[in-house]
């Protein structure tokens, strides 16, 4: 630990000096030039101030990330005396034939895509309502924030009660209006995944709503007024004015939501533990069980690598298409 910390400042100093020239080039134009010694002092001071943040991040998240990738190429097992060797791509070839993993991957995609899209649609509706000067706004705003604040475990416990087959209010209501009221929502093969997705939307909607609302409030009123002068309907105004102005915000919040949803663990783990019969086995749950129940930590790391790679690729594709559309819009 000590050698690490005594080594790092020099490393930090070295890496910051190549960054020096550009700043140096820029300063004379705007500010009075500083003597070189003082600039170096300030840089050293900056490095010292940043170091306490940088160190735990390097040690506890960057290093583990690198090690995690390395682990994927070993046959490491989670046992008392760790004794493992490099096995090359064996984990990955094994993974390729693992039908359960790919089924879990498919479930993860269904979950992440549907939760993200439903979140976006529901949040957009709520944000538009909150932006149109109705009463009950205060209440709705508070309600819209609570799911965000609650511990995921509590959310899961709460929805288990809602979905409860015998004493749950959902079945009681369905029964009351003459529909079948004996559905075991979280225990039935066909309803488990949709039921879990609804909870995912409930949890994630608030943050998206707040973000979209902030975006809506930045759109100048003149744009809407001009459009209504031209006789545009509410729907046309939404499509022609609101959506284009929100596009960058929508792109970023959707990508973030997608990643968060794909990486989500706690909610579904507490709700169903991946059941029934693996119907809600999100990839993170699958990997967790492989690592900490089956104790194949190297194999689990390989799963992690595959998941991360796919998500990054998908995201790059999505963002690329968004930016391309933006460019086209500019040309027009």
């Amino acid at each position: 630990m000590r050698t690490l910390s005594s080594k790092d400042p020099t490393k930090g100093g070295r890496t910051s000096s190549p960054g020096g020239p550009p700043t140096g080039r820029r300063t004379p134009g705007h500010r009075r030039p500083r003597p070189g010694g003082m600039a170096r002092n300030r840089r050293r001071e900056a490095a010292a101030l940043v170091m306490p943040s940088l160190l735990p991040i390097l040690v506890l998240s960057v290093a583990p990330l690198v090690m995690g990738v390395a682990l994927a190429f070993t046959d490491a097992r989670l046992v008392r005396s760790p004794d493992y060797e490099l096995v090359g791509f064996e984990n990955f070839t094994k993974l390729f034939d693992n039908g359960f993993f790919w089924e879990s991957f498919r479930i993860g995609m269904v979950w992440a895509v549907s939760v993200t899209l439903l979140q976006l649609v529901a949040a957009m509706g709520l944000a538009l309502l909150l932006n149109s000067g109705l009463r009950l706004q205060g209440l709705t705003r508070v309600l819209a924030l609570i799911p965000w604040a609650m511990p995921p475990v509590v959310v899961a416990i709460m929805w288990q009660m809602i979905y409860s087959p015998n004493a749950g209010p959902l079945n009681a209501v369905l029964d009351g209006v003459g529909l079948p009221g004996d559905i075991n929502w979280l225990g039935d093969f066909t309803t488990a995944l949709p039921a879990v997705i609804v909870v995912g939307v409930w949890v994630g909607m608030p943050q998206t709503t707040v973000t979209l609302l902030a975006g809506l409030q930045q759109i100048p009123d003149e744009l809407h007024e001009a459009a209504s002068m031209d006789g545009a309907s509410a729907w046309r105004r939404f499509v022609d004015v609101t959506l284009p102005s929100l596009r960058p915000i929508i792109a970023s919040i959707t990508s973030l939501n997608f990643i968060w949803n794909f990486n989500s663990f706690s909610l579904v783990y507490v709700l169903t533990e991946g059941g029934p019969g693996g119907r809600t086995m999100l990839p993170m749950l699958f990997t967790y069980l492989e690592a900490f129940k089956n104790r194949n930590i190297g194999y689990a790391a390989a799963m992690g690598v595959v998941l991360v790679t796919v998500v990054v690729l998908l995201l790059a594709l999505y963002l690329w298409s968004q930016f391309r559309q933006d460019d086209k819009g500019k040309v027009r």
Partner: protein
């Protein structure tokens, strides 16, 4: 004209649907925490409890595990909050006052870290923490929580720092007084609301956190509140439904209180960061 007169009622109908969807589960949890176990298990379902019955709360608090783990959660959340603030304050200041490439890469890294694949990090981290004897330890959990709250805390704080004009600092420096003196006398007081908001955010993140606690903690006396609540479900099933609901309500209260205090600041801080970044 007729179409227009229908718009408002339709909007209100939609708003009521949202309120029901968002609020009903909360109401149900609250009401379940006030019902007797006989009523919870009966087949006639009603939203309001027949009579208000606070015994569930007494029972939940009487469980050794729950109080103990609430205490653990509090310790972990307070320590990681203190650490996060201590560590991120200087770095956020530097980040906010930097310009050009360094700042851009700093901000970029913060954003990327928001999407870090947790599962890939926890595997080696578990091995590392085990070799230094920090798995199944609250100290280890504090370290992990600190690291994972740090990026967002940095993001929030640097947004608040950018809101403080540099001129103020320069004026302070003119009056004489060292750099640290200026920071303490001028920057810190102005930053206080931002610091409070960031601290509350860090506290809530740690208080709510489940995954790392699940992986790292093994012995029941070290469990944090979320883990204990999860164990309640597995163990006793329906019988403990009332106390489980009561415990859940209690566990959610600190987060909800902090978040409602935070509401405006959180979005404000995010926006400040976003605009400047």
């Amino acid at each position: 004209m007729t179409v227009r007169s229908l718009v408002r009622p339709a909007q209100y109908a939609a708003l009521v649907c949202y309120i029901l969807f968002l609020g009903f589960p909360l109401l149900w949890l609250l009401s379940a925490s006030l019902k007797t176990s006989a009523e919870l298990n009966s087949l006639t379902v009603s939203l309001l409890p027949r009579e208000w019955h606070f015994d569930n709360y007494v029972q939940a608090l009487a469980r050794q595990g729950l109080v103990r783990s609430a205490w653990n959660s509090l310790l972990v959340a307070l320590s990681s909050t203190a650490l996060v603030i201590l560590i991120s304050l200087p770095a956020a200041y530097v980040l906010a006052r930097l310009k050009g490439l360094v700042r851009a890469s700093g901000i970029g890294w913060i954003l990327i870290s928001q999407v870090f694949p947790v599962i890939l990090i926890i595997l080696p981290l578990f091995l590392v923490l085990r070799t230094i004897g920090l798995t199944d330890s609250l100290v280890g959990l504090v370290l992990v929580h600190t690291t994972y709250t740090l990026p967002f805390a940095l993001w929030m704080l640097q947004g608040y720092v950018t809101g403080i004009p540099v001129d103020l600092e320069e004026a302070g420096a003119m009056d004489g007084g060292g750099r640290l003196e200026v920071l303490r006398r001028i920057v810190l007081p102005l930053l206080l609301p931002g610091l409070v908001a960031t601290a509350m955010f860090a506290f809530v993140s740690s208080w709510n956190e489940f995954f790392f606690a699940l992986v790292l903690l093994q012995s029941p006396e070290n469990y944090t509140l979320p883990i204990t609540l999860k164990m309640f479900i597995g163990g006793e099933g329906k019988v403990a439904l009332g106390p489980l609901a009561a415990g859940s309500v209690l566990a959610a209260i600190p987060s909800i209180v902090f978040f409602s205090l935070l509401q405006k600041k959180l979005t404000g801080g995010l926006m400040a960061g976003a605009v400047k970044g």
